[in-house]
């Protein structure tokens, strides 16, 4: 019986495409991870023994599990609320809110965490303002606590969860929701009993991405956890990597194994197919919120001001101040740092071009991988494929530092005589493919899961080839998930920083590498200026798209 299934599966027209994807994934994921595993198990197993016997490792593991789970839950809750309100209702100002909560995507976590300290830290604008209003002395709260780390991680993964959910929501059936409304259900009831169950695949995808994103993040626990003496797995891994006199690399490779645990857990989740799609129908009419809409909008804007806009403004203020630490007064403001990054920073333009190309290439390739692999995973029930999806998710859960080191291990010797990828942009592209494929696979897999197979079967009966079916039927239906995948991978790779810090040379600069260099060399204000410019570009782009849409609508 199983053999019959398998042989039927092997005749499926997706197989040649799947083989191509598997070959690519072997280069970008399987091989580097295999080398890491080899290294971890190498010697006489002393790295594994160290892993099992060291109390510090267990402590870091417990801490990381807690902050990642808590921040993923927080981000998922907030993202669900935001996604439903901004796509299903007529919430006033939803476009701006969407953009505000998405903006942390383009800021490297190291810069974001610093902006947060300037906003809400002990001498940040928020605390100073509140102290002045309340007439109190001393610190009102501390960011250097597990709670601070959780809050920041949640903020960092919120856009990823949000985009994944929006992609799922825009494919929901109009009829089910309308039927519930006709039966007299209110917004909350529709949400709880109709929308949420239909959305289950996307919720699972968003939860997995949020958890893995928080799990592998180094920048935030480094900036907040080191002063708070709160050891996490990524910071422990960094400690071992820089232990140059012992076998630090072997130990960090062993630690990397631990980063695979949650990905393994997500793999074991029940993956039932959901059918909530209603092809060819317009999306449901936005739910009219009335006065409630204004209230909710007010609350959300206040929240955005507190957790997103405030820190971003603090970052902009840092970029505008003459010197770090001066009070914010007119006479202390200058555009000098912006001038410096725009005109004096040699190679900034080249780095931007490189990053545009790399991010574009990574976005397209990752979405391709996600589309094909997602299709195969939901249509052919071959257990081996589940393993492949685990491997694709894994590098996203690893700190960039260790993944970059494993790529060095693999690509240092030229793969063919005379052909060296090392030190070229191609290696960085492979690194981005490896790291960010998960961001494309999760939303696309969720979309495939909620897409009924009847359409493909009908098309196949009509004699359409797989390529024709994809082009004319499936890809248009997948469009929301594809958009989310492309956007996520593009924005994350554009400002990528930890992989670049190890792989970029003077021929292959990237944007994230520029920011890393500035931040790391003590040029905090210039790094803030560069990030501010990136944000402005993002907002301008979004405004441009909005204007184009409005322009296109009348015709």
């Amino acid at each position: 019986m199983r053999w019959k299934d398998l042989s039927k599966g092997l005749r499926h027209p997706i197989i040649p495409w799947l083989v191509a994807v598997a070959a690519l994934v072997t280069l970008t994921h399987v091989y580097p991870l295999w080398r890491l595993l080899q290294r971890a198990l190498g010697g006489e197993g002393e790295n594994i023994r160290w892993l099992l016997e060291t109390p510090r490792v267990h402590l870091a593991l417990r801490h990381s599990l807690w902050v990642s789970a808590a921040s993923a839950a927080l981000a998922l809750g907030a993202a669900l609320l935001l996604a439903v309100l901004t796509t299903q209702t007529d919430l006033p100002g939803r476009g701006i809110l969407r953009l505000l909560f998405l903006s942390p995507l383009v800021i490297p976590p190291q810069v974001l965490a610093l902006a947060w300290i300037q906003w809400a830290g002990p001498v940040g604008y928020l605390q100073q303002g509140l102290r002045w209003i309340l007439g109190k002395q001393g610190s009102l709260w501390s960011l250097y606590t597990p709670a601070g780390i959780i809050l920041l991680l949640a903020l960092f993964v919120l856009p990823i969860a949000y985009l994944t959910l929006v992609a799922g929501l825009s494919r929901l059936s109009k009829q089910a929701q309308e039927a519930a409304q006709l039966d007299g259900a209110n917004l909350l009831q529709v949400w709880l009993y109709v929308t949420l169950p239909l959305l289950r695949p996307s919720v699972a995808a968003a939860a997995a991405l949020a958890f893995l994103g928080a799990w592998g993040n180094f920048g935030i626990p480094a900036l907040l956890g080191i002063p708070g003496r709160y050891l996490t797995l990524p910071t422990l891994l960094y400690q071992e990597v820089i232990n140059f006199s012992g076998d630090g690399f072997g130990r960090s490779a062993a630690l990397a194994l631990l980063f695979g645990l949650p990905a393994l857990f997500f793999l074991s989740w029940p993956q039932r197919s959901q059918e909530g799609l209603d092809p060819g129908e317009a999306p449901p009419d936005p739910y009219r919120l009335g006065w409630l809409g204004w209230l909710l909008s007010g609350i959300l804007f206040a929240a955005a001001l507190l957790v997103v806009l405030g820190p971003l403004l603090a970052m902009a203020a840092t970029a505008l101040l003459r010197a770090y630490g001066l009070p914010l007064t007119w006479s202390n403001l200058t555009l000098e740092h912006f001038r410096m990054v725009l005109f004096d920073l040699e190679r900034a333009r080249r780095a931007t071009l490189h990053s545009l190309g790399l991010a574009g290439g990574a976005a397209l390739l990752c979405s391709g991988i996600g589309t094909i692999l997602g299709y195969a995973l939901t249509r052919l029930k071959v257990p081996l494929l589940a393993l492949l999806s685990f491997i694709v998710d894994l590098p996203y859960a690893l700190p960039g530092l260790i993944f970059a080191l494993s790529l060095i291990l693999v690509w240092l010797p030229p793969p063919l005589p005379g052909l060296s990828l090392y030190g070229t942009l191609w290696l960085i592209l492979m690194a981005y493919l490896g790291r960010f494929s998960a961001l494309a696979l999760q939303p696309l897999q969720a979309a495939w899961r909620s897409l009924d197979t009847s359409l493909e079967e009908a098309a196949s009966i009509d004699g359409a080839s797989l390529l024709q079916t994809f082009r004319h039927i499936l890809v248009p239906l997948l469009a929301p998930a594809l958009t989310a995948a492309v956007l996520l991978v593009f924005l994350q790779s554009f400002a990528e920083l930890t992989l670049s810090a190890l792989l970029v040379t003077s021929r292959s600069e990237t944007f994230g590498w520029l920011i890393f260099g500035l931040q790391q060399g003590g040029y905090t204000q210039q790094a803030a200026a560069l990030s501010t410019l990136l944000l402005i570009a993002l907002f301008a782009l979004a405004a441009g798209i909005q204007a184009l849409r409005r322009h296109a609508k009348p015709s």
Partner: protein, 339 residues
């Protein structure tokens, strides 16, 4: 076929002879042109990008035939990449310009460095380079006290730094920063300070951060009033107008020298040697001083805000000893501070 083979060497020989005999006096200049370094030089460094660019540009003014490829990153990143490459048997750097002497001792012990006694080293005190010529210091980065002028009382010694108000001192953690691990090794071996000094800091709730950059930021913003930081960051911050002041404590300062070393087996030894010579030469040291670093040569004036080299009281411990004990020191520190 046979004719061709015989004709070619003959004609080549004829050309060579005619050149040699027609211009006998040109030989001298020709041979020096051959000796002139050329080709590609691969530099691994942790200098800030703008500084690395300037250093290389100045080097190429003297050696225009050499093209330089840079890998620039944080010290920790640069060394972990280099060690991994070396472990795989194909280091991709020709010269390293990073970190501190103990790190180079470690590379030397693993037989990864080429010995080259640069003639320029004569102008530098012998304490700043390896007696076996595997690495040479290129500048002085002293660790000093920085304080926020709006919030703190001036102090002038490490001893006083241990007595500042609770929670008001910030320093880089040796667990995450190589420079801080160096200071740990030196200070714990300095009579009058020692581990007792770090125990006093711990009792006084000193705040640990990842690196020197964060210390400079926190003191400038007033998050903490006092910091222990590498001098050039603090002096640059002061010169830019941040409300900070810099003190060279009276007990003396630990200093790192950002050494340069040639990688064993480099295919372009000539260019690598030229690079080392250049960094130690008067011109190279002037370039470093121009970027706001304290030069090692007495005949180059330090930049504005730095004390003269002769006025500095230096705390030092042999680099080999520090290299051997670094991990043990770090472990003891982590235990003391509960990191």
């Amino acid at each position: 076929m046979v004719r061709r083979i015989t004709v070619r060497p003959l004609s080549l020989l004829a050309v060579l002879c005619s050149v040699a005999f027609a211009q006998p006096f040109a030989w001298g200049s020709l041979s020096s042109a051959w000796a002139k370094p050329s080709g590609t030089l691969r530099l691994y460094t942790s200098q800030p990008d703008a500084d690395a660019q300037k250093t290389v540009a100045a080097f190429r003014e003297v050696y225009p035939e050499v093209s330089v490829e840079i890998f620039r990153s944080g010290t920790e990143e640069v060394i972990s990449r280099f060690l991994l490459e070396a472990e795989k048997g194909s280091p991709q750097a020709d010269v390293l310009l990073v970190a501190d002497a103990p790190t180079f001792e470690l590379l030397k012990a693993r037989n990864l460095l080429e010995s080259y006694c640069s003639p320029e080293a004569k102008a530098i005190a012998a304490t700043y380079y390896d007696p076996d010529c595997h690495y040479f210091g290129t500048k002085i980065l002293a660790t000093v006290i920085v304080y926020n002028t709006a919030k703190a009382q001036p102090i002038d010694s490490w001893a006083a730094l241990a007595q500042v108000p609770e929670g008001q001192l910030v320093m880089p953690s040796p667990t995450y920063s190589g420079a801080a691990a160096y200071n740990l090794g030196v200070i714990t071996r300095t009579p009058g300070l020692g581990w007792e000094w770090y125990e006093a800091l711990k009792k006084n709730k000193a705040v640990l951060v990842q690196g020197n950059g964060a210390v400079a930021r926190n003191v400038a913003s007033g998050e903490q009033s006092y910091g222990m930081v590498v001098d050039f960051l603090a002096i640059r911050s002061r010169n830019e107008g941040s409300p900070v002041e810099v003190v060279y404590p009276k007990e003396g300062v630990p200093l790192i020298t950002e050494p340069v070393g040639i990688v064993k087996g480099t295919p372009n030894l000539e260019a690598a040697q030229a690079f080392v010579d250049f960094l130690l030469s008067q011109k190279g040291q002037e370039v470093a001083a121009g970027m706001g670093y304290m030069p090692l040569r007495q005949d180059v004036t330090p930049p504005k805000g730095f004390p003269a080299l002769s006025e500095l009281k230096i705390l030092s411990v042999p680099a080999t000893e520090l290299a051997e004990s670094r991990e043990a020191d770090k472990a003891r520190f982590a235990k003391l501070f509960g990191e």
